[in-house]
């Protein structure tokens, strides 16, 4: 069953890939003339994406059956699910606006998130007592759906920026656009690097004293640029030695290894980015812009705003209200200033500020597009950095 499930996930990933190509294909050719045929390709793209979504639902259900609890209980499962919710958000927006513009970037974003997920251990993990509650399903799925829809706001906002920011000269704005692209490339690089080193069977085992002051072994599957603090190599498949040690204030589980992966991703992301720059001979944003010429900025702006409008209540319900109800049952208090809780609150406050700025200060278009990018950064921060640096009660993530 677990194999069936993995295969379904792989096929859905493949479907998203095809749907992305179709989406870009239909858009690139739209510039010439908007013919019925192109409309047809756009249709096929959305159908393939929907098919991918169904396959991923299939993955979800079969995995659920295989491990007999809802598969959102470790980083791999949760992040995969988040990818699925991004696709769902995209499909919802498609149903409302009947345009596939969002697919151009929503599908790649979802794929990047799923690729990122696939790097985490995929074994089924048994539920510790704190997770044995039906609130696990309710809270985690609703929160992820909210985050997925809010991600669509980022996607639309980012398309807006790519579309309108003046690319004829370099500026602070073009820099930050390139920076967002670079960050996405780094996430992709993370998946690629992990696959390569896994295939090469890289392995270094350190012994070190972990954040709970226990002597432990830590296995790296990538060459260690950053070793554990005061770590000693027990055995290694290669002669590569750490260049520096991870700072001891990083308190996440296995933080040194995660930091090492992060550094690898950033480096390889840079390599990918430079390769693309050399290939295009111009800023990547400048390369993409002409493809988006036919998009009406007002429409993507509206979609971006609308996604916040739809996503904000869902996020609030899932990530704050359901979370608090569950925390009251499991941890004896509905609110305990656990870092993950606080970052959900920060996300909430941020989007509240977004709504007020938009409503009262008239922050539309470019300003709110930048805000939607920052919002996404906050969501990803909660997923990645809080997990890496900060120790908390959440048993995973």
């Amino acid at each position: 069953m677990i194999n069936v499930s993995s295969n379904l996930l792989a096929s859905s990933f493949f479907a998203y890939f095809i749907a992305t190509i179709l989406a870009w294909g239909s858009f690139a050719s739209k510039q010439k003339k908007a013919s019925l045929k192109i409309k047809k390709w756009e249709r096929i793209s959305i159908i393939v994406a929907a098919l991918g979504f169904l396959l991923q639902i299939g993955y979800f259900i079969t995995r659920w059956i295989a491990i007999s609890h809802v598969p959102v209980s470790n980083m791999f499962e949760f992040t995969t699910f988040l990818g699925m919710m991004i696709v769902l958000g995209y499909l919802i927006i498609y149903l409302i606006y009947k345009t596939n513009i969002i697919g151009l970037f929503a599908l790649p974003t979802a794929m990047t998130v799923i690729a990122y997920a696939s790097v985490f251990p995929k074994e089924a993990s048994p539920l510790v007592p704190a997770l044995q509650s039906y609130w696990l399903k309710i809270h985690v799925t609703t929160a992820a759906l909210g985050e997925g829809i809010l991600t669509i706001s980022f996607v639309a906002g980012f398309i807006y920026l790519l579309r309108v920011v003046d690319q004829t000269k370099s500026s602070k704005k073009t820099f930050w656009i390139e920076f967002v692209i670079y960050s996405i490339l780094s996430t992709l690089a993370f998946a690629i690097v992990s696959y390569i080193f896994n295939a090469m069977n890289f392995e270094t085992t350190f012994s070190w004293v972990n954040e709970t002051q226990q002597e432990q072994e830590l296995v790296y599957h990538m060459p260690a640029i950053v070793g554990p603090p005061d770590g000693e190599i027990v055995k290694s498949s290669h002669s590569f030695k750490p260049i520096v040690e991870a700072p001891s204030w990083m308190n996440g589980v296995n933080a040194p290894r995660k930091l090492n992966s992060l550094i690898w991703s950033l480096l390889m992301g840079l390599v990918l980015y430079i390769m693309l720059r050399l290939l295009f001979q111009k800023r990547i944003g400048a390369k993409i812009q002409p493809y988006l010429k036919n998009i009406r900025p007002e429409l993507v702006d509206e979609i971006s705003y609308r996604s916040v409008i739809i996503g904000f209540p869902v996020f609030t319900l899932g990530a704050l209200i359901f979370a608090m109800i569950w925390a009251q049952e499991a941890w004896t208090r509905f609110w305990g200033w656990d870092p993950k809780e606080v970052w959900a609150l920060i996300t909430f406050l941020f989007y509240a500020a977004y709504l007020h700025l938009r409503l009262s200060k008239g922050w539309e278009g470019e300003k709110s597009a930048w805000l939607s990018v920052i919002g996404f950064v906050i969501i990803m921060f909660n997923l990645i950095v809080v997990n890496l640096v900060i120790a908390g009660l959440h048993s995973y993530a």
Partner: protein, 537 residues
């Protein structure tokens, strides 16, 4: 009062006539109208002299509100850089801990008081001003807005229509016929129609305008609920340790309730569990599966009667597990901690050293040892001293605590052969004879252990308030976000039909509806003046 040409009397400060919508400041002719609050007179815009006005105006400003939100956001984020005081080990000095663990950053964090950020006075102040701002900003707007929406008339001033974002003029052969058609179509889209002299005001979703105020009210209730925590009696937070088989009064209930723990159980995942084999192999055995206390809840019927023994009546029997607290009378008991295999009873035999013969066994309850154990036939053991948690300190043997972690005894053994008694000191794997060689000794035979469970006793009377606030907040949120307030005005002006429309959000949806409404009629499509002309005023 400002009297409009339509005859309606408006409060001072009104921008657009509440009834016909005529703008009172014509100089902005070319621009679109600011429709956000229907141009109503708001206190904050009208009175600006006294100190109360100034405070009111400060807190009713959305700009200030946004600053409060952003500051709260930034402060909250700073608090997560290092663990809060409540998450550091309980037996350390915070000042030292932060410095040692986190260096300079830790020192600064502690010195600035960020280690207890969420309980600090200035964080409270932020939340309080958020509450104040929510209340004032909402009142400043909701009252006049309600008035304006109630007073609005069907027929609008032409300059009101012209300056709506969506606006169009059509020349049609038969205006009255066209209006009839439009009315029909609007009804199909579930608009409520009001008519006056052949003009139409179609409106729907007005209730969504109250969404923000409802959700703000919810937030205010939540904030009030959070403050209630600090009143005595609203909040109980105690820990109850119970040993297997014991019955204890539940702290915080004034001895009204008692709990018996029949047993505490810890289960771990089975190594042979096929589903999770891989991970169990990796992290080793002992992934916990269940923490459980089988408990019986009693009520003390003699509560309040001075000096009376508790008279316990069984109320409830339940297994308390993580995620399944035992709830009663506003209290909840949570499985939060445990201690396995605490020493319970020790057994010793009285033995003659030379012959190895034994003369009976004593059973020492380590929490409640007897002072004398009579073994009959002139054999007797006395406990002269008992150290439950033995330690050899500066002043000789002492006990670290009352918990029998490392019991030690000074026995005095009486036998027919040793009528004056012999003294022996017995601890785990130790047997000393401080006053010279003895004939008899106490031989350890066996140990009984039992588990101890720790239950958090919690009563939180603010829960209801906070849950209620949360509910109101969600209702307001959904009301304001998932519905919009849309209005379409269709008016006969001379031999033209003027059409204007407004929505508080989701213009795309409104435009789609207008497309539907004018389809198959002689009306031309109204324009979105914002896409074709300048920005909103």
């Amino acid at each position: 009062m400002i009297e409009c040409e339509c005859g309606h009397k408006n409060p001072i400060g009104t921008e657009l006539c509440e009834s016909c919508g005529k703008p009172f400041h014509e100089e902005t002719e070319q621009k679109l109208l600011d429709m956000r609050y229907e141009g109503v007179a708001r206190r904050s815009k009208t009175y600006q002299t006294t100190i109360i006005d100034k405070i009111w105006n400060f807190f009713s400003s959305v700009k200030v509100g946004i600053w409060i939100i952003v500051l709260t956001l930034i402060a909250s984020a700073i608090g997560t850089i290092l663990p809060q005081e409540m998450y550091i080990p309980p037996n350390v000095y915070p000042a030292q801990y932060y410095k040692e663990q986190y260096g300079v950053v830790g020192y600064i964090f502690y010195t600035l008081g960020f280690h207890n950020l969420y309980g600090s006075w200035w964080y409270m102040l932020l939340l309080a001003s958020m509450g104040l701002s929510l209340i004032i900003a909402s009142l400043d707007r909701v009252v006049p807005l309600y008035r304006a929406l109630k007073k609005q008339s069907v027929t609008r001033h032409t300059s009101f229509l012209k300056r709506q974002r969506i606006f169009g003029i059509s020349r049609v052969p038969n205006p009255h016929e066209t209006i009839k058609q439009v009315e029909q179509k609007l009804k199909e889209k579930h608009y409520q129609i009001r008519k006056e002299n052949g003009n139409i005001l179609a409106e729907k979703g007005r209730f969504s305008r109250w969404g923000p105020y409802v959700n703000h009210l919810g937030l205010v209730i939540v904030l009030i609920g959070a403050m209630l925590r600090f009143f005595p009696g609203m909040y109980v937070d105690e820990v109850l340790w119970i040993r297997d088989g014991e019955t204890e009064a539940i702290p915080g209930t004034d001895r009204k309730y008692y709990l018996k723990s029949e047993r505490f159980i810890l289960e771990t995942y089975d190594q042979d569990d096929k589903k999770f084999q891989e991970i169990i192999k990796k992290v080793g055995n002992g992934i916990p599966k269940n923490y459980q206390t089988d408990a019986i809840l009693y009520e003390n019927k003699n509560v309040g009667i001075a000096g009376a023994e508790p008279k316990l009546v069984k109320l409830k029997q339940q297994s308390i597990k993580v995620n399944h607290p035992l709830k009663f009378d506003g209290f909840a008991l949570y499985q939060t901690s445990y201690k396995l295999n605490e020493f319970h009873k020790m057994y010793f035999k009285l033995e003659e050293k030379e012959t190895g013969k034994t003369f009976g066994e004593i059973e020492v309850d380590l929490l409640n040892p007897k002072s004398t154990y009579n073994l009959g036939n002139g054999y007797k053991v006395e406990i002269l001293e008992y150290f439950p948690d033995f330690e050899f300190g500066d002043k000789g043997p002492t006990t670290k605590s009352k918990i029998p972690n490392n019991p030690a005894f000074v026995f005095k053994m009486y036998t027919p052969k040793t009528k004056d008694g012999e003294i022996s000191f017995v601890a785990i794997r130790q047997n000393l004879e401080p006053f010279g060689e003895n004939k008899f000794k106490m031989t350890f035979t066996k140990l009984d252990v039992r588990n101890v469970t720790a239950l958090t006793v919690r009563k939180d009377r603010t829960l209801g308030v906070i849950a209620f606030g949360g509910l109101i907040f969600m209702i307001g949120l959904v009301q304001g976000m998932y519905w919009n307030h849309r209005r379409i005005w269709v008016q006969i002006v001379g031999n033209e039909i003027w059409m204007a429309a407004h929505t508080n959000k989701n213009w795309y949806g409104l435009k789609k509806e207008i497309d539907y409404v004018i389809k198959d009629t002689d009306l031309t499509k109204p324009q979105d003046q914002k896409e074709h002309k300048g920005e909103v005023a």
